[in-house]
Symmetry: C2
Subunit: 246 residues, 2 copies
Amino acid sequence: MSFTANIFNSHSKKDGDFLLAITKVLGFKPKKLPIYRKAFLHRSVNQKDKQGNPMNYERLEFLGDAMLGTIISKHLYNEVPGGDEGYLTKMRSKIVSRKHLNELGKDLNLIDFVESRIPKSHFGDNIHGNVFEALVGAIYLDRGYKYCEKFIRERVIEPYVDIEQLEGQVMSYKSLLIEWCQKQKKEFSYNVYEDSGNDPVKHFAVKLSIDGKVMAKARATSKKKAEEKASKRAFFALQGKIKGDS
Amino acid sequence: MSFTANIFNSHSKKDGDFLLAITKVLGFKPKKLPIYRKAFLHRSVNQKDKQGNPMNYERLEFLGDAMLGTIISKHLYNEVPGGDEGYLTKMRSKIVSRKHLNELGKDLNLIDFVESRIPKSHFGDNIHGNVFEALVGAIYLDRGYKYCEKFIRERVIEPYVDIEQLEGQVMSYKSLLIEWCQKQKKEFSYNVYEDSGNDPVKHFAVKLSIDGKVMAKARATSKKKAEEKASKRAFFALQGKIKGDS
């Protein structure tokens, strides 16, 4: 369950509730709330503005997609001074891949904000990434470049972008651990829950259990990162065992 | 002949000359000049930075391409409130087309800044657009988003982006005029030259002659726009004749 669940299932929901929930996601206060409403308006709602133009998140998605690409490009440019244009292009497309953006949108439970006439269960996975991009577009229009950069830094780069892992140079600790558990016929589970802490950026906490025993805990700004952190801790705790087995 | 011609044919050219010429192109003073040098460094020069990384304009081109797309996206978003995502994408790709960017780079004589071991006459047309994008990337790194937006507004949007013409809704006056001249077996010529005025943004002036007689003059921030303006003036001056013939 998420703090935003059921908070915005119809347009009649009060602005106050929406403001509260979206502020938590953004990490700052929006100025023009209607822009953010639009970022979650599915075309099935068939809404029009005063001039009769269709109102839904698709135009904002177009804008957010471009801005996201630019900020990620700048990050890569600075982080990988030895990478040529081809390398930078490849890394950027990994970071802003549909799969990756869907994961991001899901972690933030953005679908809870979506207004639609189609039941949400009927949507494919892409809705998560699409509204994430639309949200970036809304920030761009509402607060400009600087806030966009801050948001993308906190929500995409910091929690998700590990260049070595994207390059496949480093194996993830999670996969190492899972492999070991499977070989040893041990049961494992990751329990991820949203952290109720008062951080300006939402955190996720995870408990990793092996054969019912909690092996490690970790906190991070994304589910993926929290799981990876916990796996790394468990991996080092178990290192003697894991090495001994191999 | 352009004011930048031959001013930067070798790396030994003084920074002062380069600063003067690039400031004229930018419309503002650069802070970190070496970034702009890099924007014109062809890979054939084979230069490396202190860490041994290859230094040429290709990485900046990657960055500038992204930023250009973002600023044009925002412009289209605001200018065409009735256009859906598909329309916006199509219009953007027309504006940032290779052909269009090459035209832009050529008008600014950016090739005069290029440092290369290959004779410039051996380059294809794309060099013009590539270094234009690299220049946008350099501005982004040197002065940030705001200056990029200003530069793109002054150098791309204001002089080149006419949405109705891009949509093909309006025929250009230049093509109307040329068609008429050809039908009437009249000789015509456009004489474009760089304006020596002291505007912060470089202007182009054009004289349109028909059968050796100057029919119209115009000034604008791009060659294309100056030609179009002059054609429009001539078109209205000749309107009686042109209509009478059809």
